[in-house]
């Protein structure tokens, strides 16, 4: 009988995260203090994040131990299964083997708990009582709600309005796990009130929601902020995906020619791909592809520059591909990919051509997503559709070139909470959004005021 899934025993779960900063060909440009234009110290950020996470943010140690208490929670669903997608392969009829890491098996249904559990743990250890955060489609907010509940922390989530309205069930997940969830822009913060005054119909953005979450916790010394993507320590925690995948692929004697993840802030992409980036830096011949939405194309079209991570300029200046911190992405259903910037680590890897970006339109991503559900059974999240679109792309190229390829991708989460978007697609109500060139010009102007990279 053919083998569909590769499991690891619980005893085989990786005990350390992998820190790409130890292996980067060029050291990363530091985040800057916007007031002084000088590199930021951990102390500058200590009112926002607990020190243990700031140390990870700046560490260049290659391997960082995963605390026992974090591993214990990981084991609720990890190691996640590695799948071979035989049925989808058959549909594509191309000379490819398709493997995927199924991160949808977590209680929250995505890869996000990998860092949520870790962040909740380190906050708890630092004596924090409450965490504020933002969320796009709600994958991150629901994961953090669960993690906070498990470690006895309060949790407050600002959810981008377009997703809050599109995906009511994610709010209900957060509430089931005991968190508070607000539509962003909200009336709870100055940032939210200002945005609503200018545009009462604002669909919101991750940039706005981040500002609201930071503003919300800054007045409370027992509260801290938590970010579900972008930052180095988040990429670090997600590497458990790729480390597991490497063990699983080794078990069946395979090594991928292509590794793919969808990329919004970059954490799902980085989680699978960074351990393979390490291999590539050390000489492996492998393509590593970040699939992003054509309506919010950072790697493929945005300038590489210092910019803020949020609308209200409360974060440091981060070195990244950015459409400008005041960019409001189109209301696509892949809410987790609606972010103006891209993780500095992923951005630098793209800048140095170690990885590449590809952009896909909403309709084609839903087309392949429905085909996936109808062959493989599991219904993918709209974010995951983007990775599948890149898989289809690679399979088509392999067929054209008559070349056999092993493709591995990160199935970042299931779409059961996103079914309203399937409804819109199946009933012909979805549209594509094309980003006009003028938005790129606007972005260049925005970032032109900050220190050069």
């Amino acid at each position: 009988m053919r083998q569909t899934k590769v499991f690891l025993d619980e005893s085989e779960i990786p005990k350390q995260w992998y820190n790409i900063q130890a292996d980067l060909p060029t050291p990363m440009s530091p985040p800057l203090n916007p007031g002084t234009g000088k590199p930021l110290s951990a102390d500058d950020m200590s009112a926002i994040f607990p020190m243990a996470l700031l140390e990870q943010e700046m560490s260049t140690e290659r391997w960082i131990d995963i605390p026992e208490e974090v591993l214990e929670k990981y084991l609720l669903w990890r190691p996640s299964p590695l799948y071979r997608a035989y049925n989808f392969e058959k549909l594509l009829d191309a000379p490819v083997k398709i493997y995927y890491k199924n991160e949808g098996v977590s209680p929250a249904g995505s890869h996000k708990p990998n860092t949520a559990i870790a962040q909740a743990y380190y906050n708890k250890m630092a004596g924090v009582k409450r965490i504020s955060t933002e969320t796009g489609a709600g994958q991150w907010g629901s994961a953090l709600s669960m993690a906070c509940q498990m470690f006895g922390l309060e949790c407050r989530v600002f959810m981008v309005r377009v997703s809050y309205d599109q995906k009511p069930y994610r709010r209900l997940m957060m509430q089931t796990w005991g968190a508070e969830c607000f539509s962003s822009p909200s009336n709870l913060t100055e940032t939210g009130r200002r945005v609503l005054a200018e545009n009462p119909d604002s669909p919101g953005s991750l940039g706005i929601a981040i500002s609201e979450a930071i503003e919300d916790m800054l007045g409370d010394e027992n509260a801290r902020y938590s970010l579900g993507s972008v930052l180095n320590h988040v990429m670090l925690h997600q590497t458990i995906i790729g480390l597991e995948a490497q063990k699983q692929m080794e078990k069946i004697g395979e090594y991928p020619d292509v590794v793919i993840g969808c990329a919004g802030g970059g954490s799902n992409f980085a989680g699978l791909c960074l351990p393979y980036v390490r291999d590539k830096i050390h000489g492996k011949d492998i393509s590593i592809i970040a699939a992003e939405p054509a309506s919010c194309p950072t790697i493929t079209r945005a300038p590489y520059a210092y910019d803020f991570g949020d609308l209200s300029q409360k974060t440091p200046l981060l070195p990244m591909y950015t459409l400008g911190h005041d960019f409001v992405p189109a209301p696509i259903h892949a809410g987790g990919l609606r972010y103006h910037g891209m993780s500095p680590i992923v951005s630098q890897l793209a800048k140095e051509n170690i990885i590449e970006g590809r952009a896909y339109h909403q309709l084609e991503t839903f087309d392949v997503g429905v085909k996936w559900a109808r062959t493989e059974g599991f219904i993918p999240a709209p974010e995951t559709h983007h990775a599948i679109a890149a898989v289809v792309d690679e399979a088509r190229r392999a067929k054209e070139e008559g070349k056999e390829k092993v493709i591995l991708f990160n199935w970042s989460g299931h779409g059961l909470i996103d079914l309203a978007s399937y409804d819109a697609y199946l009933s012909g109500k979805l549209t594509d959004y094309v980003l006009p060139e003028s938005e790129i010009d606007r972005a260049k102007k925005t970032v032109g005021q900050y220190p050069k990279l």
Copy 2:
């Protein structure tokens, strides 16, 4: 590190289903032809079900081979993990170990694909083009939609109206997998039109929906009907759950003192429990508990008698605990448990005191369901809440008796599609429904007209 999950290798998946009919102390009473009052033959049913399934329905062979094509689809999620619920144990603070089979890992999110895949396969082999079925909460309808899609069959689902309205996402799952889904009572059938004429606000029932589905396919020679519970062949297909669980428990050197499943039509309960019923019949000292809703209590309160499986008397007369085929259960959120009857196999085992029933009220089941989600992470379906309520019950008894117990239960599915019911519970809008004694009298009168058991 403590072990949270027990996996089986794909090669260890059971290759045969277990047929309890080979081991029953008393042979089962046959289904009756309502016209003649005589036992039914397979031929009498051949316009409704393919012959291979009818043969399984009546077989007394102990082991029945699982076809290769069915195993191949099972491997998309099977063997399902066996979990130890350490965090919930800690909350209960009782001398119990709690193990559960996580059937929520299937693409449809419940145990239902175990029989959906098998039924779609046998229909396909028999040359059937289209399947009609009913569904309560939508777990069954969505599972069959997926299975039909995988085997290239059309699928039409009549969904009980109260669930159709409460759980729009389950309809969207069915549509994503290419099926048609109608609210029942519908205007598509004579049964539906008659019910609507009498009561335009009818919340519907499984009994009504079954009538509609059978009526819908009877005119089409290329169509057949499919039932997601109650019948012997459905119980048979679900035994893969218990067979896997036995292998997994053996791997860790455990044997349960108590085995628990929730029971509506009985298939989820039977799936885990029948292999353990076999052990009990052969001398094992073990409690086997079916958890049902207090608002629809068949095992615990209904008469044991011949009755129809559906409102319009289109099915044979089945020997079972029944609240009467015209009973309309209260609109509880555990839609999958809203059925007037109980599987003849499960009914007979209860009648002979090999298993026992316990009834739980809606509010207490949601209370334990939310506690589960907040400790173990995974959000359970409202049906599953009933099994958890029985676990809590058993843990309390163990504490009172100062006796250590190993409890194993079937976590029949996740509640991500049922989050609106959590919303209702968390905002204080849920109520309990107490079944008045007069309904039992009514049931006795209804079944009094049919042959005695």
